[in-house]
């Protein structure tokens, strides 16, 4: 069973929300609604998140992603649709029951940290437990453990205004972890941090996730961040989810130009994997090595290949082998069996432009944006 399921969620702000939902279902335009003074913030959003997964919702500001997140823990009530959390319909709960769920099983990390300035670091981290009514000694111990986990051991008696932004967000994270909730909602949690700190925090989140196996819904407007963190990614535009899938799905087969335009700035060499861009092994048969030997079998390809990698290897690691040999890099499965090859041309094409349709890649090679991206990718490799 999925941990979290959103079923046809709508959120309408303004007058006559129910009518607006009916209108949207029958094909009314969002802009037409806005002209009438009604804002459709989220339109027909459905997805499911499995336990232990990081589900990233990506979109520009105003795309409805924060509204969507707030419906997941009931801070906002959906105009239509259901939210199922471990099979329980959150939209059917009374306010008191909903608060109970929020205090024990769902916690949240905010964009601007939202630390209480009148509470010490320890009291902030212990806030959720305090709301639950956990006795002081126990909640302070658990809060201290959470702070330890986020690398803030020893800062318990400090005040939020004495900490840097990164440290403050660690307190925010510790506050969310201290309640031991199953579901973590993170609302642009790293967006307010400067790039180096942001990277640190992303690494730390991934590292924590390998140990804690929380289910996380993460909101961001930064596709690089989405690709780094997300097991699955949903891209939102104008209140609608336009595409869901893995990082490679989004990069390799963007659903439309909007998604494609996002992916232009992504450092593909880090996101794309060998498995995502490899060609069938047979395409290497009949090619020749630099010294003229013809490759006829899988064994030939594997022995002649400049390197042999597994499918999850980022393409960034394929540049050096490709540059030393004309033979394609071999991609093998866990048992060492050849599952695909990455020839030099395919590697370059993959960095240049989304591969849908493959013909398009060829026509746009050499255009300024593509070459810029390739150049960056090559430099960073």
């Amino acid at each position: 069973m999925s941990r979290l399921q959103a079923e046809h969620l709508y959120k309408i702000f303004g007058r006559r929300p129910a009518e607006a939902v009916t209108g949207l279902k029958n094909g009314t335009d969002r802009d037409a609604l806005r002209a009438a003074g009604t804002t459709a913030a989220v339109i027909d959003a459905s997805f499911s998140v499995e336990p232990g997964q990081i589900f990233v919702v990506m979109g520009l500001s105003g795309s409805g992603k924060s509204t969507l997140l707030r419906m997941l823990n009931g801070l906002l009530e959906p105009t239509a649709g259901r939210v199922l959390f471990d099979g329980q319909d959150l939209t059917a709960l009374s306010p008191r029951e909903l608060r109970q769920v929020r205090s024990t099983r769902i916690s949240m990390v905010f964009q601007h940290f939202a630390l209480f300035p009148h509470r010490s670091v320890l009291e902030n981290a212990a806030y959720g437990l305090e709301v639950q009514g956990v006795p002081r000694a126990e909640r302070e111990q658990r809060a201290a453990e959470a702070l330890e986990l986020t690398g803030l051991g020893g800062w318990e008696t400090s005040w939020p205004d004495e900490l840097s932004g990164g440290m403050q967000q660690r307190v925010g994270l510790a506050r969310a972890l201290a309640t031991d909730a199953d579901l973590l909602l993170m609302d642009e949690s790293f967006s307010a941090l400067d790039p180096l700190i942001r990277r640190d925090m992303q690494d730390q989140l991934l590292e924590l996730q390998t140990r804690l196996k929380k289910t996380i819904v993460f909101i961001t407007h930064d596709l690089n961040e989405a690709m780094r963190l997300g097991d699955r990614i949903a891209v939102m535009r104008d209140g609608e989810i336009v595409q869901q899938g893995s990082a490679e799905d989004i990069l390799v087969t963007p659903a439309d130009d909007y998604v494609a335009s996002f992916t232009q700035d992504v450092d593909r060499s880090r996101v794309l994997t060998a498995a995502a861009i490899m060609a069938e092994p047979e395409t290497a048969y009949g090619t020749r090595t630099d010294d003229g030997r013809e490759l006829r079998t899988a064994e030939d390809v594997m022995s002649a290949a400049p390197a042999s990698v597994v499918g999850s290897t980022p393409v960034g690691e394929l540049f050096t082998p490709c540059s030393t040999s004309g033979v394609a890099v071999a991609v093998t499965d866990g048992e060492g069996k050849l599952v695909g090859v990455v020839p030099r041309a395919r590697l370059l094409a993959a960095l240049g432009e989304p591969l849908t349709p493959p013909a398009a890649a060829r026509t746009t090679v050499g255009q300024p944006p593509a070459s810029t991206t390739t150049g960056e990718a090559a430099a960073s490799a």
């Binding site: 608060r99 929020r102 205090s103 949240m108 939202a114 009148h118």
Partner: protein, 606 residues
């Protein structure tokens, strides 16, 4: 454009409220006056300097040693100008008003912060309360609550409430929305969100509101003094009524000292009680580093202990010392046996003279007399309401005709005690060629088109506006300047000293005629009325039945012109605040008069 009878509606609404909700006003009045009496009793019990010490320790604890020393010096100054009791009365008034205001303002502000509807309804009401001139609701306040300290407190509450509500609402609204959302995201109930997040974070703003409430309350004390609120406001009102610049300044400075003390202490308190304030203080301390000696502040425990010890000592003295009772009347002369009689007066010279004369006479007969100064409108309203037993300065049948017409059913006329009165416009004698009101016509430029008037509530002003100016065709040519008796007298003195042209509204008897050489402008057309006024004594309804002896003395009372001007002159030369001593001196110079005015069967008194 038809005249919209808004005022009539208000009139009948006030009547209706007075008739049907008097029990409610009585209840409010007794709660408020109970609080006031309680606080005033506590504040007046200890020796002044001891209480000054307690207040100084508080200032030391909350702010600094320097603040404590200055506070002590300030309060010692108030004591040394003999305004201590007035200051404590004012402090009590402000404290009661502040407490009641906060009890209303903070919950209302919280409600307004949580509900747009409440906020949009309260806003215009608050504007109304804050900008409506206080006198407009002060007089109805006297209707509902009677004269004295209660309408003053109510008026102060009405005036001071808006900033309390607004600052509370603002404080809560400006708490970062993300913090409130964070509290909700962790399952905090709305009540706990308010108590644990919003109120603590809004506390500094709310405290600033409290500070505003106190300051506005202090600024209202003078107005409260006009309806018998007493305290420093009464002292200020008395001083301006008598053009006593010295006393006015002393009382004014005392108000300022109280204001500064309360402002600084509440300001410091807001830093101490609000979590954000404490945080800011701690940070500042880290920045400045070491603690200097004069910044040292006693720990709360030490300060509280100090206050407690001083308070105990104060209480002990208060209990042991008791209060010295004055016993002026003994034996057969003591017909009053301590019964209380209240007198009210308008600060006009014949009123002051006759009131203090009767205060002295009645006290010699064993009554306890409380004489207070009022603005004319509130004096009549208060007396009709039964709070004031006697006033001795009602000019009837002409000048105070409007008041008499309105309140005659609730008042008893004790008869006239002085008949040689007249109302007139006067010019300095150096203004040659001005002998009659007719001479003023066409000379507006000489007097800059102004006739210097007195209080617009005075009967003479009404007569001038409605009748006299029209009769002599001066309407339009001259402006009758509304002001006050002291203002008129100051203008007269200023112009007289510089020998500038001036025409003033005046009446006889008045000491101005003996001080300056003035010409009373003749009234050939008898516009001021063919019959002249007598100065009447008025009592509240039922007074004759309650105090038949006093009533018969008052009915038989009369003064000659020589006696009255002599008494007024003695009071003038004795100086302000010594009216009763002057009366004693004058009575000593006129032996037998006291016994004639207040005869007792078979006895005499000392």
């Amino acid at each position: 454009m038809p005249r919209f009878r808004l005022g009539d509606g208000v009139d009948s609404a006030v009547d209706f409220l007075q008739r049907h909700l008097s029990w409610l006003f009585d209840a409010i009045g007794s709660v408020v006056s109970g609080m006031y009496d309680g606080i005033d009793a506590v504040l007046s019990a200890p020796e002044p300097l001891l209480l000054a010490g307690i207040l100084a320790v508080l200032a030391w604890w909350l702010r600094s040693l320097v603040a404590g020393v200055l506070a002590f010096a300030g309060f010692a100054l108030i004591d040394s100008v003999e305004l201590w009791d007035d200051a404590m009365a004012t402090l009590s008034l402000v404290l009661v008003a502040t407490i009641v205001t906060l009890l209303i303002a903070v919950p209302l502000g919280v409600w307004a912060a949580r509900s747009r509807a409440v906020s949009s309804v309260t806003r215009p009401v608050l504007d109304f309360m804050q900008t409506m001139p206080a006198m407009v609701y002060l007089i109805p306040g006297v209707f509902f609550f009677g004269v004295g300290v209660v309408p003053g407190i109510i008026a102060t509450i009405i005036f001071a409430l808006p900033p309390g509500v607004r600052m509370t609402e603002l404080g809560i609204r400006q708490v970062d929305g993300e913090l409130v959302e964070a509290a909700e995201a962790f399952g905090t109930s709305p009540r706990d969100t308010l108590l644990r997040v919003q109120l603590p974070l809004a506390l500094q703003t709310i405290m600033a509101g409290i500070n505003q409430v106190i300051m506005l309350g202090l600024s209202m004390v003078v107005i409260a003094g006009m309806v018998g609120g007493g305290g420093l406001g009464g002292a200020v009102y008395r001083a301006i009524g008598n053009v006593d610049i010295g006393l006015g300044f002393e009382a004014g400075v005392s108000v300022v000292i109280l204001a500064m003390y309360l402002d600084r202490v509440t300001g410091a308190l807001s830093l101490q009680v609000s979590p954000l304030g404490r945080r800011a203080v701690a940070k500042a301390k880290e920045l400045t580093g070491g603690v200097r000696l004069w910044d040292h502040r006693p720990q709360p425990v030490v300060a509280l202990a100090g206050v407690a010890v001083l308070a105990l000592v104060a209480g002990g003295i208060g209990v042991l010392g008791g209060s010295p009772q004055s016993t002026t009347a003994q034996g057969a002369g003591n017909v009053g046996k301590g019964q209380k009689i209240t007198m009210g007066y308008i600060p006009w010279d014949e009123g002051i003279a006759s009131t203090f004369l009767w205060k002295e006479l009645l006290e010699r007969r064993g009554y306890e007399v409380d004489a207070r100064q009022y603005e004319a409108g509130s004096l009549y309203t208060g007396q009709a309401g039964g709070q004031i037993d006697i006033q001795t300065d009602s000019w009837l049948p002409v000048t105070h005709a409007a008041y008499w017409a309105k309140y005659r059913n609730s008042l008893e006329d004790m008869g006239s005690w002085y008949d040689q009165t007249s109302l007139e416009l006067s010019v300095p004698a150096y203004m040659k060629g001005f002998d009659s009101l007719d001479d003023l016509k066409g000379k507006a430029s000489t007097f800059k088109g102004r006739i210097i008037g007195i209080e617009p509530s005075a009967g003479e002003m009404g007569l001038l506006k409605d009748k006299v100016l029209k009769e002599y065709g001066l309407e339009g040519e001259y402006t009758l300047v509304d002001g006050s008796t002291p203002g008129m007298l100051s203008e007269l003195k200023r112009s007289y000293d510089k020998k500038e042209p001036v025409v003033v509204v005046l009446w006889s008897p008045h000491w101005a005629y003996s001080t300056y050489d003035l010409t009373k402008l003749k009234d050939p057309r008898k516009a001021f009325g063919a019959e002249s006024d007598g100065v009447h004594t008025l009592a509240r309804e039922g007074f004759s039945a309650d105090q038949p002896q006093v009533a018969s003395w008052l009915k038989d009372f009369s003064m000659s012109e020589e006696q009255l001007t002599g008494l007024e002159a003695t009071i003038q030369s004795a100086g302000k605040g010594k009216e009763q001593e002057a009366v004693r001196t004058w009575l000593k110079d006129h032996p037998g008069l006291a016994e004639r005015w207040t005869p007792v069967d078979g006895g005499s008194s000392g």
